[in-house]
């Protein structure tokens, strides 16, 4: 198991190098540079050139990239072109907000999705199944920013129950978490339903029922546990996506997370900020996927046995 984990961690190195190269290259390819964004209207072309020279933007791509990688090897992600702030510091000042939102979102999603998925599977082709399918369809189709604004209008403006923006106090997480969780719930619900449908027809469940095991135990202990692997995989993927930031939800609720940081940095061609943030997000997402893989072992003893071999 430990060898497997170490192997997976070592695989991260080429992944991170590839991510840094691709991101650096793509942002560099886009027309315009940071000087086009930060230079004042009345700056002369000479001043702009001077600024480019001072920032090292006139050096060839490969020189700039290796300079960046040298810093990265020392653990230095560089400073923002826009406000000279340390990329690492800025990223980690935003990360807790992103983690809170991601966890709260997945919590809302699981609380809604797993019971609905299970009910849909057990009562297949009944009205209960239809309701859960409709919910799934709605959750997938509603755009986040629309649902977010709707929730703000109802629960903040009309009912005054929750704050309309920001990240202070637990009450401010409720609406963003519901917004982000609803879309994720739809996917998890559908996965739960189809996974349960596969398991539910297995012979060992029929045997359990024949032995007189109560239906609730059959479903939640025997069926759900065996159906969990695809569900955990989808949850892990959704959580990984949330770590990159939920840009629309963050924008509507003025939630200061990583997503908006990256989008703002892309718009201002702030290469160190974009590359730094994406490298750190890749690392986090990779750890998360690793955790999901390890979780398989705990859910399914057959996989644990394979790791041990």
């Amino acid at each position: 198991m430990i060898r497997y984990v170490i192997g997976r961690l070592l695989m991260l190195i080429p992944v991170l190098i590839a991510v840094s190269l691709v991101v650096y290259f793509i942002v560099d390819l886009a027309p315009g540079d940071v000087v086009d964004v930060i230079a004042p209207d009345d700056a002369s072309p000479e001043d702009k050139e001077l600024l480019r020279e001072m920032m090292g933007l006139n050096d060839p791509f490969i020189v700039r990239y290796f300079r960046y990688m040298q810093g990265l090897l020392r653990g230095d992600l560089g400073k923002s072109y826009v406000n000279n702030r340390d990329v690492f510091e800025v990223y980690f000042s935003r990360l807790p907000n992103t983690l809170i939102l991601a966890m709260a979102g997945i919590f809302v999603a699981v609380v809604i999705a797993v019971p609905l998925g299970v009910i849909g599977a057990i009562h297949r082709a009944s009205w209960k199944d239809a309701i859960s399918m409709i919910f799934g369809l709605l959750g997938l189709s509603m755009p986040n920013f629309w649902l977010g604004l709707l929730l703000i209008i109802v629960f903040s403006l009309k009912l005054g129950l929750f704050p309309s923006y920001g990240s202070e106090g637990w009450s401010s997480i409720v609406l963003p978490a519901i917004t982000i969780g609803t879309g994720q719930a739809a996917l998890i619900m559908r996965t739960t339903r189809s996974s349960m449908l596969e398991v539910i027809r297995q012979d060992y469940l029929r045997t359990a029922r024949a032995k007189g095991v109560p239906e609730r135990t059959v479903i939640y202990k025997h069926a759900l546990r065996n159906a969990l692997i695809p569900i955990v995989t989808v949850m892990g993927t959704q959580l990984g996506v949330s770590l990159g930031g939920a840009v629309f939800t963050e924008t509507v609720f003025a939630w200061p997370g990583v997503g908006r940081l990256v989008v703002d940095a892309i718009n201002s061609r702030d290469i160190p900020m974009v590359t730094g943030c994406l490298i750190l997000t890749t690392m986090l997402a990779s750890f998360l996927i690793l955790l999901v893989d390890i979780a398989y072992a705990f859910i399914d003893p057959r996989i644990k046995a394979r790791y041990t071999k």
Partner: protein
Amino acid sequence: MNKTKKNIALLLLVCLVMTVLSGCGQSTSKQSEAGPSEGPEETAYQKTITIAPALDFVSMETQVTTSGTSKTVFLLVFNTLIEQDTERGGLVPSLAESWAAISDTIWELKLRRGVKFHDGADFTAEDVKFTIERGKEQGASKAKLESIERVEIVDDYTVHLIMSKPDADILYKLTDPNCVILSKNAFETLSEEEAYKIGTGPFTYNVWEQGDYLSLLRFDDYWEGPPKTEEIVIRNIPEAASRLIALQTGEIDICISPPQVDLHYIAEDPNLKLLQIPGANNRYIGINSAKAPFNDIRVRQAIAYGMNRKAFIEAVYEGNAAEHNNVMHPGNLFYKEIEGYQYDKEKALELLAEAGYPNGFSATIYSSSGTIQKTVATVMQAQMAEIGIKLDVQSLETATFNATVAPGSDYDMCVNGWGGYVVGPDNALRNMFYTGGNNNNFGFSDEYVDRILDEAVTTSDIETRKKLYGDVQEYITMQAVFLPIAIEMIDVGIKAKLEGFVPPQGSIHKFKNVCIPIN
């Protein structure tokens, strides 16, 4: 049945607890506190004023950043030498008590005594010399200060600005927030990051959570007396609809640029007030006159005659903007009323035929991805189709757009905006229309314009300057490279009780006196 009832009861209980708890959470965390802050008189004022601008505060580097919100904050934390009185017009003293031109190239500034920096140090002539000489090398302040060759200290409270050439606009340039006075002592003893936090203004930096909020606290030793408001919070709420809702729920006190389609919510609410102030931005269509067929003035004139400004005002701004037909902004002291080009489709068709394009031609119009810019481009496309010009609209995100229409590039037409009038008439016109001007992306070069601009900036007699700038702005407008459309409004929603709001300096707001009395 019993089980169902139990479940419903449990659900209701959970809802009740959530409601009570969320109510508690909200009142302690977010509502602008109506704390017992004592003003100089008996009236008590709301402790904190929360402001949500359209764009975020991005940097404390006063001489480097060009962000409008950051510049708004600089006017709270620092002072300039001279201020613009945006209510009555003209220049008023700030850290400089008085100023006089000793000759064409020497300005004498008498400085205010008894001014303290936030670290307790006294403000003196050394700080002025340090700030200006440092600013001549920094990205954003450089263009404003480059005509000053050096600063000579006469005594602790008198300086001479020695100019490399006469610059009649220098006093306006000194009012720009990129020219706020920094503390020499702080830059010598602290890191640059810390030194940029020390000013002489009415508020001091408290907490900055980038992307979330910036908190400023009252400076009790402020030379004009401490402000009535104890804390100003600049809140980043990027989505305009969310900003408006936050104003309606009372979570913020000032909402800048709410959605244009929702302005009536503010106007109809007795607790709120809608302010519509002519902004700095002169929205225009730019034409690359270095390129065929736009190098023929008749083609440019045809386009100008083909533009129906009324339709722009309705379709783009829903009536919330003022039609405009001059390259100069009406807020400038040297603005002259002119007729410019008025919509005349027949004349446009005639001119196109005369220029050899009776069936029109095809071209590309670029805009940035902002809603206004994109809509202007679309309306322009429809209007030009009426006179046979087929426009392809290309909307690009900001950095790409700036690079595409930079001076010397090969674009046809673009949707752009210009707000440079705030730092004087020379800045307003030279950057755009002087041969090789920093923002002259029209490929425009005219010996007459260059000569008049050079003459006007070195003339001290105000009437002569008015005549020169009046003539030249009319001449440039008729050259039809910069086709003005509208002066855009700055929409601001405020709490009805809020006092001390003054018109902005261009797009830079002045919030130092805002307060809300609570009894």
